[in-house]
Structures are given as structure tokens and as C-alpha cells.
Amino acid sequence: MPRWIAHLLVAMVFAAAVAVAFSRVDYDWNWPAVWGYRRKFLQGWLVTVAVSLSALVVSGLVGSVAALMLRSGNSLVEAAARVYVELIRGTPLLVQLLIGFYVVATAVGLENRYVAGVLLLSLFSGAYMAEIFRGGLDAIPRAQIDSGRAIGLTPWQSLRLVVLPQAVRLVLPAVAGQLVSLVKDSSLLSVIAISELTLNAQEVNAFTYSTLESYLPLAAGYLMLTLPLSALARWLEHRFRYEIA
């Protein structure tokens, strides 16, 4: 059976199950009320796209730097990176956003909530990226580094030509999962009043009292971002695929 038919079949069965569940709920659908706010959804979605893509790039940078710090060999640098990773991963994003924006960003005079939001989200996701990258770098066998040194590569060339190309392949699936999480985590930026998709859906709900009609498009809006991201990751994985010797 071709894969797309299998996907379609599973999607249909799933949709049928959901339809049955919804049919049992006594609920007055009012789609026209929500349809009137379609421009608001679109604006929110565009903000979510912009914020997610920015945080995706910045968190990659943050994660790379933190991963290199984690294996720098300098105990002070390693400790700093370790504290960062554990603090971020051990506390709720909600708390980080509230303290980061209302306390830290205010203290340093950073007033643009969009810039602050992207930075805070990137710091959050970067901690997970750092551990993914570190694991990928550590998985490259010692013999590969030795071979690079034996032919006279500098440490930087060894990283660029030998270690990174092999590590990228190893970390791709985990990075893809983290990026999908990042897109959904951006929904929490509503707590610092960033007018992204979730905040707009909440507002539409407040205006229309049509909860499901507001939140179902919200879910669809995130899927429109996360599904292409997953597809891109699978394509990249395929491209970087090769057998290990």
C-alpha cells in the first residue's frame, strides 16, 4: 500500500472517532461569530510564525554555544553552561517568561516585548538544544578525531569537516522534535501579552463565548507550522543518511 493511502486511511479513522466524540457533546456551534474574526486569527498566526522562526534560529545559536561550553574542558565554563541548562530545564517556561520579562528585561531596560519574548523562548529551547548537540558531538568516536589530527587538521577544521557533518546526522531527529516543541511553546508568550495566535484565539473566545470554534482553528494553526517542519526534518534525515562503517 502506498504510504499516502496509509496516512489518509489512518487520518479518516481518527477523524471519524473525533466526530463521534463531538456528536455526543451537547454543544451549540456558532462558527459565523468566529468567522468574523478571521483576520485576527491570521494576524496572530503571522506573529507566531515570525516569533517561532526567530526563536528557532536564535535557539540554535544559543544551543551551539552552550554545547561547546559544556565540552570546553574548562571547569568554570562547563559549570556555567551546566547551571544554565539545569536551571532552564528544571523550571516551568511560564515562570521563566514572567520573571524574565517583568523583572530581568525591565531591569536591563529591554522594553520591546517581542524581542524579549524571542530571547526568553530561545534561552529556554537553547538549553534543550545544547544537550542534544552535546550528545551528538560526544557520540563521534575518538578515532575520528585522531584521524583528523593525523592528517594535520586544526581543531576548528576537525570540528567543521569531520565532527559536525557526522553529528548533524545523529541529532537531526531530536532537533526536529525540539523545534516542533518550540513552535508550540511559543503559545505561552501570551502571558507577556505578545499578540500571537494563542492570545488572539483567547480573545476571540472572550468576545464570542465560542470556545471550541476558537480553539480548533488554534490547533490547526500550529499544525500548519509543525507538520511542514517534521516533513523537512524527515527529508533532511534522508539526505544525510549513510551507513556507518
Binding site: 568516536p141 578515532a143 575520528q144 585522531d146 584521524s147 589530527r149 593525523a150 592528517i151 594535520g152 587538521l153 586544526t154 577544521q157 569537516l161 569531520v162 557533518p165 557526522q166 546526522r169 549513510y242 551507513e243 556507518i244 562503517a245
Partner: protein, 253 residues
């Protein structure tokens, strides 16, 4: 080449379980060695005796804790920067996993030429073509290491070390990880290169091969060279009883 090693000491942290270390173990213990003017030096001896540790220092991969090494009267550099320059003038092949698995055999050969020795891609291709054909590897050049046999992988690794025109090659048990039938093709290649005047320092357990290619042999045990000298003397009438015992177990008559 002429190699003089004086009072070489190398220590490694001793594992104490749980990832901790307790002091250090001395792997090379004031090792000294002086060869004549030779083409091939073979290091033999029991496992854990220090052969590979010595080879890594000679190849410029590790820095010794103490002592001196000089090839042709030229001492090895004592800093990483200097050692990297030194490594660019020699070639090293390990027991296994020499090739980069994400690159084809051809790309493995081109990488040092282009990125370390400054050749253009076209210039590098031109340089590797003849050696690839000579060792019947041209038809495999487009393959990734995983698609090559163990013998082909090692021969590509030797070629990669060779095409940069090194002063000498260091080989650390290049056939130990191979099946017997693949050992022969790698050993044959080394013998052929030696016959045309290439210089080698070689660690091996293949005593018959050592006897065939070595000008001098050094027996490394307990971190020292306990017996060294010409190949005939080593196999003919070894003075050291440990060498006699070693030869008795490794040389199948």
C-alpha cells in the same frame, strides 16, 4: 631515516572506577632507542607493553611527559602548534576507523590535500588518480567506507596518508582488525611501498611480515626497549630470554 629516542616517559591517568582517576600509570618508563640509517623500523612486543604509545609520540599525536625524540637529528616539537606542522609532513594509519564515514573514498583522499596542503580540487584529483589505479582502487573511489571491505578501507587509508608525500609513514597494527584474506592485500601494499624506498615505522603482530620488511626491530615491553637491533640478529639469536619466549609463542614454524 635515523631515529634516536632518549629517556622517553609517558604516563596516563589510572582509572579508579566510577569515572574517577587515582594517580597515574607509567606506560613508557625512560625508554631509549637508537637506530642506524634505516628504511623500516618495526616495533613488536606483548600487548600493553607500550608499542602503540611510543608510535603515537613518534607520529606527533601525543606529547611525552619527558624525554626526547629526534628523526635524522631533528628533535620533535614540544608544542601542539609545532606538532601539527610536523604531522603534516608524515602519515599515520591506525588499526581501524581511519576513514571519515560521511565521505566517499575519493573525498577522504582529497580532504587533506585540499584543506591541509592547499591544492585545488582539480589538482588534488589529478594527484590521487594514478595511485588509485596502481592499487586497483579507482573503481571503488565513489563508495562510502561502509561499502568497502576492511582491506579496501585500510588501503585507502594508507593512500590518504601517502598522497600528501610524507617523509615517512607510521602504521599502528594496520592489519589487526582484518580477516586473514584481507591482511595479505594490505601487507602486500606495504611491502611494495617499502621496496620502492618509502620509510616506515610499523607496529605489528605479524612476525613473519616483520621479518620480511624490517631493517631493524625494537622489542618493547614494560615501557622499555628491552632488545633492539638488526632483523637478522633479532630473529637469529636473541639475547633476551623474554624475546625468545615471545618469538616461541608468535612464530609458527
Amino acid at each position: 631515516m635515523n631515529l634516536v629516542v632518549t629517556d622517553l616517559v609517558q604516563r596516563f591517568p589510572a582509572p579508579a572506577g566510577g569515572g574517577r582517576t587515582a594517580g597515574s600509570v607509567t606506560v613508557l618508563d625512560r625508554l631509549s632507542l637508537a637506530t642506524g640509517e634505516i628504511g623500516t623500523l618495526v616495533l613488536v612486543g606483548p600487548s600493553g607493553g607500550g608499542k602503540s604509545t611510543l608510535l603515537r609520540i613518534l607520529a606527533g599525536l601525543d606529547m611525552p611527559a619527558a624525554g626526547d625524540v629526534a628523526f635524522d637529528g631533528e628533535p620533535l616539537p614540544r608544542d601542539e602548534e609545532g606538532l601539527r606542522c610536523y604531522r603534516r609532513t608524515v602519515g599515520t594509519v591506525f588499526q581501524a576507523y581511519n576513514l571519515f564515514p560521511h565521505l566517499t573514498a575519493m573525498e577522504n583522499l582529497l580532504l587533506p590535500l585540499v584543506h591541509v596542503h592547499g591544492l585545488t580540487e582539480a589538482g588534488a584529483r589529478a594527484r590521487v588518480q594514478a595511485p588509485l589505479e596502481r592499487f586497483r582502487l579507482a573503481e571503488h573511489a565513489h563508495k562510502r567506507p561502509a561499502e568497502l571491505s576492511g582491506g579496501q578501507k585500510q588501503r585507502i587509508a594508507i593512500l590518504r596518508a601517502l598522497v600528501v608525500q610524507p617523509r615517512r609513514l607510521f602504521l599502528d597494527e594496520p592489519t589487526s582488525a582484518l580477516d586473514p584474506e584481507m591482511r595479505a592485500e594490505v601487507l602486500e601494499m606495504i611491502a611494495e611501498l617499502r621496496a620502492e624506498g618509502r620509510q616506515f615505522v610499523l607496529v605489528t603482530h605479524e612476525m613473519a611480515f616483520a621479518r620480511r620488511v624490517a631493517d631493524e626491530i625494537a622489542f618493547v615491553a614494560d615501557g622499555r626497549v628491552t632488545c633492539g637491533g638488526s632483523t637478522e640478529a633479532f630473529f637469529g639469536r636473541p639475547a633476551d630470554p623474554r624475546v625468545r619466549a615471545f618469538l616461541a609463542t608468535t612464530l609458527v614454524p
